[in-house]
């Protein structure tokens, strides 16, 4: 498994770059798909399909949207954002409001959110 993370990251970055029509060099781990790479809602549908096709797994629609945040209440969102602030210092936090609502959550989806999600999925698939 040692070589896989880098490989996974590269594959995800190429998929994102292809879907958003941006050079792969611009697809940094901490880039927000919406704020930095110009993604619109329809692009997430496209990215999910491309990931499913490339990795041979099914991704339910909400999975990537939720990322690592539970969007069910203001409190759970705030707690999730705090965690992200700690784990994603390189994210351009100035591009999102101080108090993040459910509607703004998609802006927090970074390239790494997707890579992390894919890694979890692939690991659980390999384990089962």
């Amino acid at each position: 498994m040692s070589g896989e993370p880098a490989d996974l990251e590269t594959r995800v970055k190429h998929i994102v770059a292809g879907a958003l029509d941006v050079p792969v060099e611009r697809v940094h781990n901490h880039a927000s798909l919406i704020n930095d790479l110009g993604a619109e809602s329809i692009d997430f549908v496209d990215i999910v399909f491309r990931l499913e096709s490339a990795f041979g797994i099914e991704i339910s629609e909400d999975d990537i949207w939720k990322g690592s945040i539970d969007p069910s209440s203001e409190a759970t969102i705030a707690a999730g954002v705090e965690r992200l602030r700690a784990t994603m210092p390189e994210f351009r936090w100035e591009t999102v409001p101080a108090k993040i609502t459910r509607a703004e959550l998609p802006a927090l989806i970074t390239v790494r959110t997707i890579t992390d999600y894919m890694r979890k999925r692939l690991e659980s698939a390999a384990a089962s």
Partner: protein, 392 residues
């Protein structure tokens, strides 16, 4: 609103003979042909293995938002490029206010449904159960297609993408009266201007017949087997877009129009015997207040197929008499379906302005009164009455 009149102030086109109108005219003048064995897909199993294709062309520079390219098929890309050229030709301002009311009306005969992707998905249904069971179709076929597939294939995408890429936020519509659709879009756009719904509209046609479903349909209809005196039917592709403006608004902008659109008529019904086309000729003459003898040129955008040729000849003889007619679409370009009518107009107007008069493809003279017509596959007939404008 009676005094609102419509002029053509910009033209843009992309064809298999050139990625601009000028290049297309030069290629025509040089006698070059774009007809060659199809490369976009393997057409060797059809009676016609040839096509007139736009090759070695990159749509990217025409797209202000490149990400949208994944949402476009070939006609939509051609439409955006031709519309860009029409705006540039007319010196249309880039400011927001000018774009806020700019309308778009593009005619197209339909999408190729991205046959390659669809075919790949259908291969997972060898017993063709999806043909009769919607649930199976959704599960086995749609589930294997990128969710964007439907968006790319929607019939209004040419107009939509022109609006998006050029920030044209005025009225936006699509005409789908088959091969007459492009010319009808121009006519309907002129009505918007006449009624005061818009002061300027990008209008024309964009299409591609170089795709497997179209070839299958033409084969079934025996169009490939039909060789008329004008040659044989070779599907083509491309787009031609005109910028129409309200005449006084154009004057205030200080642009010199190519022509004034003085009459428009559209008819349905049977193509047999030229009924719908003859009726549309009469309606257009009446709308323009012209007599048949006023017409110096009549163009008929129709493929070289015997039935269409007979229709055109009969309608011209009945209504127009001995008018100079170009009754078959330029064989070296193939037939670009719904784009054919507007392309005919664009080529005629460009020749007009250049003052060229050589050859069968460029017969127009200054201030000529031209009837531009197109016939659809199902009997649709559209006629525009255009009067060339003298430079002031």
């Amino acid at each position: 609103m009676d005094d609102r009149r419509v002029v053509v102030t910009g033209v843009g086109a992309i064809t298999p003979l050139g990625t601009t109108l000028r290049a297309t005219l030069e290629a025509l003048a040089a006698g070059r042909s774009a007809v060659a064995p199809a490369k976009l897909f393997d057409a060797s199993g059809f009676s016609c293995a040839d096509a007139a294709e736009i090759r070695d062309w990159d749509a990217r520079p025409a797209f202000n938002i490149p990400k949208a390219l994944k949402l476009t098929d070939r006609p939509a890309r051609f439409a955006v490029a031709a519309a860009q050229m029409a705006l540039a030709d007319a010196n249309w301002p880039a400011d927001r206010a000018a774009r806020d009311t700019l309308g778009v009306a593009i005619g197209s005969s339909g999408s190729d449904l991205q046959a390659r992707d669809l075919g790949r998905a259908l291969a997972h249904d060898p017993l063709a159960e999806s043909a009769t069971d919607v649930a199976v179709f959704a599960d086995r076929i749609l589930g294997r297609l990128n969710p964007l597939w439907l968006l790319v294939s929607l019939p209004n995408m040419c107009s939509a993408h022109v609006g998006i890429q050029l920030s044209a936020r005025g009225p936006n519509s699509t005409i789908m009266s088959d091969w007459a659709a492009g010319l009808q879009a121009v006519g309907e756009a002129a009505e918007w201007i006449r009624c005061g719904e818009a002061d300027a509209v990008l209008a024309g046609g964009a299409d591609s017949g170089v795709q497997p479903f179209a070839y299958a349909a033409y084969e079934q209809a025996r169009l490939f087997a039909d060789g008329s005196s004008g040659g044989r039917f070779v599907p083509s592709e491309g787009a031609a877009v005109l910028l129409l403006e309200e005449r006084d608004a154009a004057r205030r902008r200080g642009v010199q129009p190519y022509a004034e659109l003085q009459g428009y008529a559209a008819r349905g019904g049977s193509c047999e015997g030229g009924d719908s086309l003859a009726a549309a000729f009469r309606d257009a003459l009446s709308a323009a207040g012209w007599q048949a003898r006023d017409v110096s040129l009549c163009t008929v955008a129709a493929p070289p197929i015997t039935a269409f040729e007979r229709t055109a000849r009969s309608a011209i003889e009945t209504v127009l008499g001995n008018v100079q007619a170009r009754a078959v679409f330029e064989p070296k370009l193939g037939h670009p379906l719904a784009a054919a009518g507007p392309l005919d107009v664009a080529l005629t107007l460009t020749c007009n302005r250049a003052g060229r008069g050589q050859g069968a493809a460029t017969p127009a003279t200054m201030a000529a009164r031209v009837l531009a017509s197109a016939i659809g596959f199902s009997g649709e007939a559209v006629v525009l009455a255009l009067e060339g404008q003298q430079p002031s």
